[in-house]
């Protein structure tokens, strides 16, 4: 069956909202209606629903978390869920909604190409809605679906739906989010998720699943410049096989753009140029490498190259920067210490970094820029770093792969922050 059906690739999306918005029910509904939930899981949640005295099977229990979370009655971490429609595979990043979990939402958003923002139809656009939308925009998610849920609790009122849509659009214009779609839902009853149901007949747009099926998968949208950070160098030097004696393969994943055999390339940081002799996967030649493909590149000339270097097309060389301005989300309990040196990991390259300035902090609730002296956990700020080593960077909004970095505290090796280059 896999062979005959057209494959529309893979879409990663993020759901934002709290349990109160019906997020868990929505995810449960998507999994249930796409027949992802199998009988034993269903019978387990049916048992739990009964134990808790619920009348019907509570689909939100499908996303019930860890023991530690159940004890505290909260979600503390991003969970990943999977379903498939036969033509497309989906990965849902399920992020907790509370303010103190900004870092989790940024984490979940970092790999998503689409976000579903949930609004409770009874409550309309809330502070939380604005925060989630702003974060989605900051992390560069190109497509938003605003799902106005719990329509069953407002008598499926079109007027309510239109009012909330108007409110949201007014706010969205200020944030600069462009591609927004709206949909009325009842996750509880399954209206407009996979099936249309009978209660929202005034809505003639696509169902939620139809929107997801039609959304562009990642990396299909811009013509991007070719960027290939070298992860590993393959030098077999197999004495039994003289053919491999001079083999020197540069292994990595295409972060952006594409490359063909014969293309002129430059290797950074040394700036030496060559042409592409071969592109391989597992030692087998392929004619072209495209975005997100993991390949091995062989060059016509012998150039000393190692992990942390970057291969680019000679016509599209990025800037080497020793100072970066970036939007940073701080993720550690210990605040950022201006006196300390941190490690920045960008593509496969590491550099020591010092904070040069905090331009401002962003209040994620009011969206105001406020002055700041320090960065605490969940803070988002615009900062400047000075770097010990140059990075080959593109603006994040042009290219996520070469615009993103993480900040590591070398004393305990923890990842303490995430950054997006401006």
């Amino acid at each position: 069956m896999s062979a005959q059906v057209e494959d529309h690739g893979l879409l990663r999306f993020l759901t934002c909202g709290s349990v109160d918005d019906g997020k868990s029910t929505l995810i449960g509904r998507l999994l249930f209606d796409t027949k992802t939930i199998l009988a034993d899981t269903l019978s387990a949640i049916a048992k739990t629903s009964e134990k808790r005295g619920l009348g019907a099977v509570d689909l939100s229990l499908l996303t019930d978390g860890l023991q530690a979370e159940r004890e505290q009655g909260i979600t503390i971490d991003v969970a990943y869920r999977y379903f498939s429609t036969g033509t497309r595979k989906y990965i849902i990043a399920d992020a907790p909604g509370h303010e103190q979990y900004t870092r989790n939402m940024v984490t979940a958003a970092s790999t998503a190409n689409l976000a579903i923002i949930l609004i409770d139809a009874r409550k309309g656009v809330l502070t939380q809605t604005r925060r989630h939308s702003k974060l989605a925009a900051l992390v560069g998610i190109p497509h938003l679906i605003v799902a106005i849920n719990k329509m069953d609790l407002v008598d499926y009122s079109q007027e309510t739906y239109e009012r909330i849509k108007g409110e949201y659009l007014e706010f969205a214009a200020k944030v600069g989010i462009e591609d927004i779609r709206f949909i009325p839902l009842s996750a509880l009853n399954g209206d407009m998720i996979v099936d249309r149901g009978d209660s929202l007949n005034w809505y003639d747009g696509p169902t939620l699943l139809e929107m997801l099926e039609a959304a562009p998968a990642a990396h299909t949208e811009h013509t991007e410049k070719f960027r290939f950070p070298v992860q590993y160098v393959c030098r077999p030097q197999d004495s039994a096989n003289p053919d491999l004696h001079d083999y020197r393969g540069f292994m990595g994943r295409v972060e952006a753009g594409s490359l063909k055999v014969g293309d002129a390339v430059t290797v950074l940081p040394n700036g030496l140029t060559s042409t592409v002799k071969a592109i391989q996967i597992g030692g087998v030649d392929i004619p072209e490498a495209v975005t997100e493909q993991s390949v091995t590149i062989l060059l016509a000339d012998e150039i000393d190259t190692s992990r942390g270097d970057m291969i680019v097309k000679s016509s599209e060389v990025p800037a080497a920067v020793k100072q970066i301005e970036a939007t940073v989300c701080w993720m550690a309990e210990q605040p950022m210490d201006r006196a300390r040196t941190y490690l920045i990991r960008h593509t496969t390259r590491d550099s020591k970094a010092k904070l040069a300035a905090i331009d401002h902090r962003l209040d994620v609730n009011t969206l105001e820029k406020v002055p700041a002296e320090k960065l605490a956990m969940n803070d988002i700020a615009q900062v400047t770093f000075k770097l010990a080593q140059p990075l080959f960077a593109d603006p994040y909004l042009e290219n996520r792969g070469t615009g993103a970095f993480i900040i590591i505290d070398e004393s305990n090796n923890n990842t303490v922050g995430a950054g997006m280059i401006l």
Partner: protein
């Protein structure tokens, strides 16, 4: 959505494969002494194909290792050795029975499943060889404690997984740094489902141990599960003997997951090739672990508990 120029996108299997290759190369690039866990099961067989695509024509930058409970199917153990030999890669086998002989694994009773005790032997092997990273074939769709697992999961020197204190993991920027004694577990096929695994096996034409395909074997029905009985060990000795009064029937079955004999149960099936298994997987009504892992049914949190104790 807005009109955009659609360029060639990778098929879902190509995308998953490319991600897995990238993860393996990150382990090789960031860690000084990694190891790949290979049991002869279907997930780890996919991992070997990914390693070939990641590193050929070179050798793998890590050895293979199996933590053998001593209760593995003959067919799987034979397949494990054959596959490692075909690839020309080094295979390390460390045995739970050796840990029992050393006294570091103590069974509650002779019949207790040795599955969870693999953690002890694994940690002993990590210390013996000084491994700083173990690459495993765990998938997030297997179990809810796995749904929150990182792709690069940090473990302290006791191998413990602390769900409240995991490193944030963003984009595909992985942090595999560790101090001496600590280690990283890396899961290249985290984002794969059981279906993806079977589709990949089909596409790549991967060979599997025969017990993954429909075959007839003696079983008994125990608490609703099909339990294989009189299973010969590598030594020839029979294990999983039927209890008094149990009726032995010959049933056509296949294994969806393969592990310690004491805790993996087969499903009834007539799927005798990969194509049929893909079809059966598409229409099955029971989850992989629900159908086949007797150890996960003990309590709602048993996987979470095992992981905290150093399990994969």
């Amino acid at each position: 959505m807005t009109q955009t120029t659609q360029r060639a996108t990778l098929s879902h299997l190509d995308w998953l494969e490319a991600e897995a290759i990238h993860i393996m190369r990150e382990v090789a690039g960031q860690c000084s002494n990694p190891v790949l866990l290979f049991s002869g099961g279907k997930d780890s067989i996919c991992m070997l194909r990914i390693a070939e695509k990641a590193f050929r024509p070179g050798k793998f930058p890590f050895p293979l290792m199996h933590i053998d409970t001593g209760h593995n199917y003959q067919e799987v153990v034979a397949f494990r050795d054959k596959r490692a030999a075909e690839l020309g890669e080094r295979l390390i086998v460390r045995s739970v029975e050796d840990s029992m002989a050393r006294g570091t694994v103590v069974l509650k009773h002779e019949g207790e499943s040795r599955n969870k005790h693999q953690s002890v032997t694994l940690l002993e092997a990590i210390e013996e060889f000084g491994f700083d990273a173990c690459i495993g074939g765990a998938r997030r769709d297997e179990e809810k404690a796995r749904a929150k697992e990182r792709i690069f999961s940090f473990r302290d020197e006791f191998g413990q997984w602390d769900p409240k204190n995991q490193r944030p993991e963003l984009w595909s920027l992985y942090n595999a740094r560790s101090h001496k004694g600590e280690n990283i577990r890396a899961f290249p096929i985290s984002n794969w489902t059981e279906m993806d695994v079977w589709q990949y096996i089909e596409r790549e034409g991967l060979e599997l141990p025969s017990i993954y395909f429909a075959h007839t074997r003696p079983v008994v029905m125990r608490q609703g599960a099909i339990v294989p009985v009189n299973v010969p060990l590598v030594s020839g000795e029979l294990t999983n003997l039927p209890k008094a009064g149990e009726e032995i029937i010959d049933l056509q079955v296949r294994f969806r997951t393969v592990g310690d004999i004491s805790c993996t149960a087969p499903v009834e099936s007539d799927a005798d090739n990969v194509e049929k298994i893909v079809l059966e997987t598409a229409t099955t009504t029971i989850t992989e672990r629900g159908a086949t892992r007797l150890d996960d049914q003990t309590s709602e949190a048993s996987m979470e508990q095992r992981k905290k104790e150093g399990y994969f």
